[in-house]
Assembly symmetry: C2
Homo-oligomer: 426 residues x 2
Amino acid sequence: MAPDAADNGLTDDNAASRMRKAKDAARSIGLLTDTQKRDALRAIADAIEGAADEIIAANADDLRRGRETGLSEALQDRLSLDEARVAVLAEAVREISALPDPVGRVLDRRTLPNGVALTKVSVPFGVVGVIYEARPNVTVDITALALRSGNAVVLRGGSAALSSNATIVSVMRRALTGEGIDPEAIQTVDPFGRDGARALMTARGLIDVLVPRGSADLIHTVVTESTVPVIETGAGVVHIVLDETAPLDWARDIVVNAKVQRPSVCNAVETVLVHRAAAGRLVPAVVDALVSRGVTVHGDEDVLELAGQGVPATDADWAAEYLSLDVAMRVVDDLDQALDHIRRYSTQHTESIITMNDGSAERFVAEVDSAVVMVNASTRFTDGGEFGFGAEVGISTQKLHARGPMGLAELTSAKWIARGAGQVRG
Amino acid sequence: MAPDAADNGLTDDNAASRMRKAKDAARSIGLLTDTQKRDALRAIADAIEGAADEIIAANADDLRRGRETGLSEALQDRLSLDEARVAVLAEAVREISALPDPVGRVLDRRTLPNGVALTKVSVPFGVVGVIYEARPNVTVDITALALRSGNAVVLRGGSAALSSNATIVSVMRRALTGEGIDPEAIQTVDPFGRDGARALMTARGLIDVLVPRGSADLIHTVVTESTVPVIETGAGVVHIVLDETAPLDWARDIVVNAKVQRPSVCNAVETVLVHRAAAGRLVPAVVDALVSRGVTVHGDEDVLELAGQGVPATDADWAAEYLSLDVAMRVVDDLDQALDHIRRYSTQHTESIITMNDGSAERFVAEVDSAVVMVNASTRFTDGGEFGFGAEVGISTQKLHARGPMGLAELTSAKWIARGAGQVRG
């Protein structure tokens, strides 16, 4: 695909040159003070509101193309921007501007016997790359989060939002220029299509960390094809275990909340495992509550027999991230079998146990190897906002660097500073 | 290459099955108490000392093969084990056993407005993979570090140490069995040659983190070919800047120490940049001191003219990680030019500035984007032991998860634990 000439008229314009500009800009962005970063974000918020008409017009282009290419109603809705939604975008940036600066925190401090003073401080990564799909709000959110933490950002959004994203990026860059900040800190490789994504995934030395946000397929591609460091986010085959002692009201309310409140997100429950000793007491009522809210229960034989409703589960159901009003349900003999099932099918995002037995709870907490392990709470709480981070970069399902909901702190690295007076090693 | 039948007689024995065994074993290893882990390490140390003859005999096989295949004297020396060196191996394990348990530390704690209590605790990664070259001490060190932090380990050592490593692994596994601990927590894929290394690099779901230790080539291969999360370690094109106000004695002592004390390691200085205003005062004396200790100075024209000795530097010298008694030296116009040079050639390991000027020091500290940035100290201090970590896994030159010297804490991940009483999301 040809470069977006309106955005940048350089003849050598390509993904690599844009990433190089981001890297150059990262130097000055990393040295901005807290106040400068807050001001920059407020200027971006104002600019987005001020350019609402321009953004909505670009969005209309995307929507028209979406209709022509048969984009589903649901996706059209997620893509669509109006005055109110643009105001929400701007407000999100203002909220991020108000968060504490994650840069310059002292993480460790020690003095060597020879008097050399060591300090470990948080520093920006440098350049954060993001590959994402769907809604244009990610374009704004992730840029604000990256800048707040002193990073430059290189964006690769979904092709369905191409015009919206191009306009939003352009508006945000103008806002930086107005603040005397290098606008090259915000880059997009959208005009270069798949080549842009490939360039981003292999830009060693230019991209310090790459965060994929979107479908399991997208994440899988990024994780396997990238040679730059990646933080894996998102896919959630989330389990709730109803233990022998689970109170019926907690079991029912938590399963229903975890499935129904927002089925399309990664912290929604996908599989419920019920202890055999409690199955007769719990399954009929929990299934009833789910079905009455429009959920299809994919049950094993025991579940179907006890509930008298539902559809038979196949092997594929245990591995399914439905992201819809579907849930798989299985009766297990005991906690061991529940833990085995989780080990086999979990994506290590979030699992919860409902129990009054402290021993079961502690075993579950110790043995389940997931980012967030819960006792007697809804899996829907796995969320940066709910955790009190003020914003969320994504939910890491890997063990390196970040695990679970990621806030601004996870967009920083660290640097050791050693101050001496001529010391040498003996 | 055929599997090592003496080590494991299973017909389905291959790299994948060994990694699967490590993953299964990781469950029980992760649940060991502090005392159990200490006891296991002390048992390993005792077993290594007790099997000194067996280990030295296996090492003799490696040395014989090394001589036959023309292994250099230096590498033969690094490979070679005698009674004293075996005792050092065992002692290193005892020292690691005495370090505090890095698992179970509370990293964050918060209570949500609805009463859900969140705790973020450190947990083992699960399975740590290591690809390394050279000395058999890495086999012992990294195994002890992995077990101390509750991890299983999969090793891939250098082919030159094949027999030594096989015997050491076998001895360590026996020691675990003697302690009633699953010996499958220690695995090697050495018998499978290059296929073993490839399996390790692509074992998503089996290997939680992979640490390469060795040459720049090895690290490059691992970083670019791995689909599992990697911590990049090691390569150090380390700079020292002699600023306008650098005292001659500090400049000379630190440069000599950083180059000569142990030239073969990654924290040894490779390039010295001298401020033009101080070049006449510093270059002759510093070069004299280096040359008198056997160092070849690869200088730019200014250096050669001022020093009256040395050899001309080519472009390749600025990018060289000599790891030998060679150093590149260049006169720069000012701190800006020094920073430009570092940005271009540094591997972001360690850089130091020698200066009496606080402004220069603070600019250097803020603008140099390396794992360790020093003022008036020898770059040789970048070391887990020197930093007081008690042990070192390696020196991370990436920004994700770990940066600079890595201790036991860097071999852990984190888990969020949420405890509620039936809370659901509103």
